[in-house]
């Protein structure tokens, strides 16, 4: 299967492999992801990847160790009950999901209970009949397929007392925002939240895992950016030196070189042999 097809299948959400994940594997996966992310993050200078990878590696490592010690109970599977039972920020975050249904089910003052499909059917029928009777099309009017604004919703806003009667309470908005955040998370968002917890953990701090603090420290981030810029400068210098070295080692192209056909070193007159002076007798002979 071509790579593109494999990728397409993954993107399209086709289940290539139906895989369940046991708790032991879950910690193993978190640790492996942490190892990859931190390793690649360090090598590439990507601070976020390095730090979030550190968070995952630590959590995965602790989880695997705890699992091997039997601290999580005998069942090998992460059950929903276990998640709810866990203490801490992560377990509490899950409750944002249920607050959405609370909000939907809660009685909202000022709106009479009505069946939406009945409203749409009644108003659409009314609109179509009205258009047909008039024989004209109002450009401002909704098209026939659009449900007209429901007219039989009772608006009980009468005066200042009821002015906010239909509006959701502040609490509802707050809950909506939290539920939206919970559903739009990526893996790395989750790791970032885990880092927030670990940052304040005394036990982890005592282990010298202060690298997590960099996730939330703007000063450290700026320092990292400056270091990156410096690293870029060094890389550029190294590249220049490599190029110079390559130029020096390169074999010159001699294809265009023309050689003078005249041998400039050839003697024009025959050399005269001169015997070497040997001995004292000949030393001063003139």
């Amino acid at each position: 299967m071509p790579l593109v097809a494999v990728a397409g299948a993954v993107v399209a959400g086709i289940e290539i492999a139906s895989v369940g994940i046991a708790a032991m594997s879950a910690f193993e996966v978190v640790a492996a992801v942490g190892a990859i992310a931190s390793g690649i993050g360090v090598v590439t200078g990507n601070q976020d990847l390095a730090q979030l990878g550190g968070v995952a590696a630590l959590a995965g490592g602790v989880g695997m160790f705890a699992q091997s010690q039997g601290w999580f109970g005998a069942s090998g599977e992460l059950a929903a009950g276990q998640v709810e039972g866990a203490t801490g920020n992560f377990a509490r975050m899950d409750r944002a999901q249920s607050s959405t249904s609370d909000m939907i089910n809660a009685a909202t003052p000022g709106v009479a209970p009505a069946n939406p499909s009945e409203l749409v059917a009644a108003d659409t029928a009314k609109g179509l009949a009205g258009d047909a009777a008039a024989g004209v099309t109002d450009p401002a009017a909704p098209a026939a397929w659009e449900p007209a604004a429901a007219s039989n919703i009772r608006n009980e806003r009468t005066g200042l007392i009821n002015a906010t009667g239909n509006a959701p309470t502040t609490g509802d908005f707050a809950r909506m925002d939290r539920s939206a955040t919970a559903t739009s998370q990526s893996i790395f968002d989750t790791l970032k939240q885990a880092g927030a917890f670990m940052k304040d953990n005394k036990e982890l701090s005592s282990m010298g895992l202060n690298f997590i603090g960099g996730l939330f420290d703007e000063k450290k981030k700026n320092e990292a950016k400056a270091a990156d810029a410096l690293s870029g400068l060094y890389d550029a210098r190294a590249a220049t030196e490599r190029q110079q070295l390559a130029n020096g080692n390169a074999v010159p192209d001699l294809t265009g070189l023309r050689v003078n056909p005249v041998n400039v070193f050839a003697p024009k007159t025959a050399p005269v042999y001169q015997a070497p002076r040997v001995g004292l007798i000949n030393a001063t002979a003139r």
Partner: protein, 161 residues
């Protein structure tokens, strides 16, 4: 690999593999390389990258998909940890091959490697059941241990610290 950034990344992955996982990791990488570069498949497997809008993301997704296929072939017996690391290694191999062969307009540098890694992780984890919610629950489960000084001392000791 000729690209120094890819070489460094590969070295980092090799270093991160635990000794206990080494054999499984090597076997998975070899199996993946066979699929990617065998005479029967290497021409076909990378087709379609030319002209792709985001060849880096496509390559990362391909590496994730390849791992899932191999795991299926193993009847889901392939261990998860080594599998994820082997997939990253194959991703680096694929990026190298694409750059060397000029299959797509990619200049593989540190930023590209980081981007591909992040995309690979984001792609493969939900596919093996590790959704953000599941990861949240998994990490959340360790908080009790992290808050317990005695347990953390034992963990620290196990790490040789």
């Amino acid at each position: 690999m000729n690209n120094p950034d890819l070489q460094a990344a590969q070295a980092a992955i090799d270093k991160a593999v635990k000794p206990a996982d080494r054999q499984a990791y090597d076997r998975i990488v070899v199996a993946g390389m066979k699929v990617m570069f065998s005479k029967q498949t290497h021409n076909q497997i990378f087709q379609g990258l030319e002209g792709a809008q985001d060849p880096v993301a496509l390559t990362a997704e391909g590496a994730a998909g390849l791992m899932l296929m191999l795991r299926e072939q193993s009847r889901n017996t392939m261990p998860m940890g080594p599998m994820i690391m082997a997939g990253q290694s194959l991703l680096l191999e694929a990026l190298d091959f694409i750059e060397q062969g000029g299959l797509a307009q990619i200049k593989v540098d540190k930023a590209v490697i980081a981007q591909a890694t992040q995309h690979y992780i984001e792609t493969i984890l939900p596919k093996i059941g590790m959704t953000p919610e599941k990861m949240q629950a998994t990490i959340g489960q360790t908080q009790g241990v992290m808050n317990d000084p005695k347990k953390m001392a034992a963990f620290k000791q196990s790490m040789g610290g």
